[in-house]
């Protein structure tokens, strides 16, 4: 049957007309007019989404402090217009595996660059005689730290920005938490085929499981869960705060759900100076560091699938053990009072373990500034930064699941020397991890480690002090926020790092958020050459 050429031709014709619903010629004409680029198309959608948030912030600014209203409005127009133009005048080509990563990488970099516009236009960083270049660099750093959910800041003067702009800063983290590409896939049903790969290129972790047969539906559900979680977080914070400030509650909910860690206050959660709020924030951070597919299942089945998930169990175990370790060190070694050791230890361990980066060092709890802790406790925090949260969550880092796989790989290599014929699959709970995935995890770990070394070398070469640089590089790659030394939870990165070092760190944040490969592949030339070649062949 397949050898009948007439039938094949007829089939093709039928296909074309049925897809477009129009005669073939018109269809071809429409194809010509649009520029084929998945990168620009997806970037367009993400910018349009960001501009919607910007518009809301502009309104907020106009109604409250009315200080950066004009700048925010201009930024809304700029970002919105760029987004709309890109969205309307490009169309996504067929996505091949290797382009997918590059597409996600470029989308993030472009969104980050344009997302810096509001800061530049509002002159947020025009303090104490900073030049234009420094302003732009700082804006890009802040934008990268926002979209990558890192939470490191170069702001020194938090009063030099209106409440609307500060809300925009919170909002960038919220967008970045679930991912702008996931958002794009949710919007675009026709991205269905390459969509899952797009999501998995962006979403942290090794697996992105389909919750529904359609990828766009899956993406939509993840965003619904995420949005719902954020609303509940805001309500919880508002209540815990004694219903004092709705603005603060919303601002912190946006960055707690996304495990980002930005705060409109320089002293972060310490601003509340309340153990109740800190407890609520701890719970929110832990939930934010949990897989969102798991949250969806909990909602869909009205059950609690958490405890059955082995990664979630080890995640809690890691947080628990590190908390106890840190509290013990603070209490016994540092001579802190037990209660304040408990409060400072637990909060900071969860904050860094979930890659959020909130601080609680203010008011009565100055103990929360971990830069002043004993070296052992700080080192524990540094290890924790490397681990990160659960796969499929908004948290960064290497991820608990990968760490477990690596641990099992280690155990296996030891046992294999004793009993070389033993067959030992790597097992997480009941699930067996395929050897190809195990190899990828090992490769990812090496890549992560290499990035860390390269980043550390670059940042120290650009004038960074060792302790701060080490902390900052680990923190940027793992999307935590605060680092060690001069770049601790109460300090700003502006004092610790030179301008080029800040740019490197900004890049590392995006690299860390996308788990390295998308950015790496965005700069590999043959990805495009092959694409161009294919276009030529198609003609």
């Amino acid at each position: 049957m397949a050898s009948d050429p007439g039938r094949i031709l007829a089939g093709q014709k039928w296909c074309r007309t049925s897809v477009s619903g129009e005669p073939p010629r018109l269809d071809r004409f429409r194809n010509r007019r649009r520029f084929q680029s998945s990168t620009l198309n997806v970037t367009g959608i993400s910018l349009t989404a960001v501009s919607a948030g910007l518009l809301a912030c502009t309104l907020l600014e106009a109604l409250s402090s009315d200080r950066d209203t004009a700048a925010l409005f201009a930024a809304t127009l700029l970002v919105g217009a760029t987004g709309a133009l890109l969205w309307c005048f490009t169309e996504p080509g067929t996505l091949r595996m290797r382009q997918i990563f590059a597409t996600v990488g470029w989308t993030w970099m472009l969104t980050t660059l344009l997302g810096a516009a509001p800061y530049v236009l509002a002159g947020t960083f025009a303090v104490s005689g900073a030049g234009f270049v420094e302003q732009v660099v700082n804006s890009v750093f802040e934008s990268a730290s926002g979209f990558s959910c890192t939470g490191a800041t170069v702001m020194t003067d938090f009063d030099n920005a209106g409440s609307g702009l500060m809300m925009y800063r919170q909002l960038t983290q919220w967008y970045g938490g679930m991912g702008v590409v996931v958002l794009a896939v949710a919007v675009l049903p026709f991205l269905g085929v390459g969509g899952l790969e797009l999501i998995s290129a962006e979403a942290p972790g090794t697996s992105s499981d389909r919750l529904t047969p359609r990828v766009s539906e899956t993406a939509r559900r993840l965003w619904v869960v995420y949005a719902g979680f954020t609303v509940l977080s805001a309500a919880a914070l508002f209540a815990a705060d004694g219903f004092a400030s709705l603005y603060d509650a919303v601002a912190h909910a946006l960055t707690a759900a996304s495990t980002g860690g930005f705060s409109p206050h320089p002293d972060s959660i310490g601003h509340y100076d309340s153990a109740v709020v800190e407890t609520v924030v701890i719970v929110l951070m832990i939930l934010g560091g949990t897989s969102f597919s798991l949250h969806w299942r909990a909602l869909a089945t009205r059950g609690l699938p958490y405890w059955r998930n082995s990664e979630f169990r080890s995640y809690l175990f890691v947080l628990g053990v590190f908390s106890l370790g840190v509290v013990a060190l603070l209490w016994l070694d540092d001579g802190m009072a037990f209660v304040s050791a408990l409060r400072a230890g637990f909060f900071n361990v969860v904050s860094l373990g979930t890659s959020t980066g909130f601080g609680n060092a203010a008011g009565s709890a100055t103990a929360g500034d971990y830069v002043t802790w004993v070296a052992g406790a700080q080192l524990l925090l540094l290890f924790l930064m490397v681990v990160g949260g659960c796969s499929g969550s908004t948290a960064g880092g290497i991820k608990v699941m990968r760490m477990r796989v690596l641990g099992l790989l280690m155990v296996r290599s030891v046992r294999k020397t004793q009993t070389p014929h033993l067959v030992m699959p790597v097992r997480l709970g009941r699930d067996v991890i395929a050897e190809s995935v195990v190899a990828r995890v090992a490769g990812f770990f090496l890549l992560h480690f290499l990035m860390m070394i390269a980043g550390l070398l670059t940042v120290t070469a650009l004038g960074g002090e060792l302790e701060a640089s080490l902390g900052a590089v680990v923190s940027a790659l793992g999307n935590m926020g605060p680092a060690l030394g001069e770049a601790g939870p109460t300090a700003s990165y502006a004092e610790a790092f030179s301008l080029p070092a800040r740019l490197v760190l900004a890049l590392l944040m995006i690299v860390g958020r996308l788990e390295i490969l998308p950015i790496l592949l965005a700069f590999v030339p043959h990805v495009y050459r092959a694409q161009a070649l294919r276009r030529v062949i198609r003609r």
Binding site: T419, P420, H421, L422, V423, P425, R427, R430
Partner: protein
């Protein structure tokens, strides 16, 4: 009875041969001409080449007027379809071989109903079941569980030190008057098998089969000189389906299980689906590999591969380094006579395990059949038909042939060891030892059939 057997593999051929020996009309269908030619040369059956799912092929095999279709190809789906076709053409009964756990489960009962399979069999399950029974009595060479577990037949080779060696059966019986809990049902000495009388003296190296009530099984095991230590660690050589079923059952009993499998991908599959089991990949006759598993620490070593020679070799090696019990699956029945003296404690064949199930079904009223590998005697479980010669008769007045022994009577679920003076009643279940040539006679007397 007219029977069609589809699938002339190991199980199909053996079932066909057994049925043919019992004077049923058997035709065998298979797609493989060579297998059929070989079978036709050994057994008196009609062979038809072709697929059993094709009605024309089945017609050639005599589907019209057929009473039973046995579908034992290696493909579950094919077997089910054959059952459906047969039932549509008015065949009375079908026996279907199903391997997939999913299809065997209770959840799929409705599906099996749709295909109208009357009996579902699976050689691997039956073999695994037999080995599990054996593990309850370490040292025994055969175990048959009858009458829903109320009566157990233990077969064992007597060692010199066993308490009952050197004694006459009548003496032993006298020790346990008035209530016997067990009875020696048959004795194999050398090549011959006897249904014993009271004047037999038990000798070392005799293979005896003892029928006993469930509650007395431990006492009997001690009398036979069997160890009663429970099994803690088991090494399974060969990772086929039997091993898989066995391993998961053993693990659920808390036994430590190690499996050795030669095929790399199969070994991996096993390691993945049996979480609590250690799987080694390699050849089971590789001494270095066996040492690596810690061979001498196992209570039982069972070799279950498809290669008889490898199974036997591995068992011999295990025995030589001190494994306390070895079990070998042996497919070629001719090899069996070599094994007892060579150091393999137990040999069993998947085909007899399956065939017993089929034979029980074919004989209809027979509730259970057990065949023992190294002898001709069969153990039957029969239900006494009301109004038959045996109903209301005393055992010794029944005029049973010399080659038949009634071992136990189960009335209302309660087992009793049969005595000469025991009276049989309708609906009693009787466990009897018989040589194949006297099976028909026993059935005639007890069930008015045959």
């Amino acid at each position: 009875m007219n029977v069609i057997v589809v699938g002339a593999g190991e199980v199909g051929s053996y079932v066909a041969a057994r049925l043919s020996h019992e004077r049923h009309n058997v035709s065998v269908v298979d797609t493989h001409a060579g297998r059929l030619r070989q079978l036709a040369g050994e057994v008196d059956v009609l062979t038809v080449e072709g697929s059993g799912t094709h009605p024309s092929v089945l017609k050639d095999a005599g589907l019209e007027g057929c009473d039973l279709v046995v579908a034992v190809t290696s493909n579950d789906e094919v077997n089910l379809v054959i059952s459906l076709i047969a039932k549509q053409r008015g065949v009375g009964k079908t026996i279907v071989r199903i391997e997939a756990e999913e299809l065997r489960s209770r959840a799929s009962a409705e599906l099996r109903q749709t295909f109208q399979a009357d009996l579902v069999i699976d050689p691997d399950h039956q073999t695994a079941e037999r080995i599990l029974n054996l593990l309850d009595f370490p040292g025994a060479s055969e175990i048959a569980v009858m009458a829903h577990g109320e009566v157990i037949v233990i077969g064992a080779r007597l060692m010199g030190g066993a308490p009952i060696v050197g004694r006459k059966l009548s003496e032993i019986a006298a020790d346990y008057e008035p209530d016997w809990e067990f009875m020696v049902g048959s004795i194999s000495r050398g090549e011959d098998t006897y249904i014993p009388r009271g004047d037999y003296t038990l000798m070392p190296d005799d293979l005896v089969r003892v029928v006993c009530e469930r509650r007395a099984r431990r006492r009997v095991a001690r009398l036979l000189g069997l160890g009663d230590g429970s099994v803690r660690r088991v090494l399974l050589l060969g990772g086929g389906r039997t091993a898989e079923i066995l391993a998961s059952r053993l693990v659920s009993r808390g036994v430590e299980v190690v499996v050795v499998e030669r095929d790399e991908s199969r070994a991996r599959v096993l390691a993945e689906c049996l979480a609590a089991v250690q799987v080694f990949q390699g050849d089971i006759t590789d001494a270095g590999l066996l040492e690596e598993t810690g061979l001498s620490r196992f209570d039982v070593v069972a070799a279950l591969t498809g290669e008889d020679e490898a199974n036997i070799l591995a068992c011999l090696y295990a025995k030589s380094v001190g494994a306390s019990e070895t079990i070998a699956v042996v497919h070629k029945l001719a090899l069996l006579s070599l094994l007892g003296s060579a150091g393999v404690d137990v040999a069993l064949s998947p085909r007899t395990a399956t065939a017993d199930g089929v034979m029980r079904f074919v004989r209809g009223d027979v509730a259970a059949v057990a065949t023992f590998l190294e002898s001709d005697a069969e153990v039957l479980e029969l239900e006494v038909a009301p109004g038959c010669a045996a109903d209301g008769a005393v055992v010794k007045d029944l005029n049973l042939p010399k080659s038949v022994l009634i071992g136990a009577i189960v009335r209302d679920g309660k087992p009793h060891i049969a005595r000469g003076r025991s009276r049989l009643r309708g609906r009693d279940h009787v466990v009897a030892f018989a040589t194949p040539d006297s099976v028909q006679e026993v059935r005639r007397l007890l069930t008015c059939d045959g």
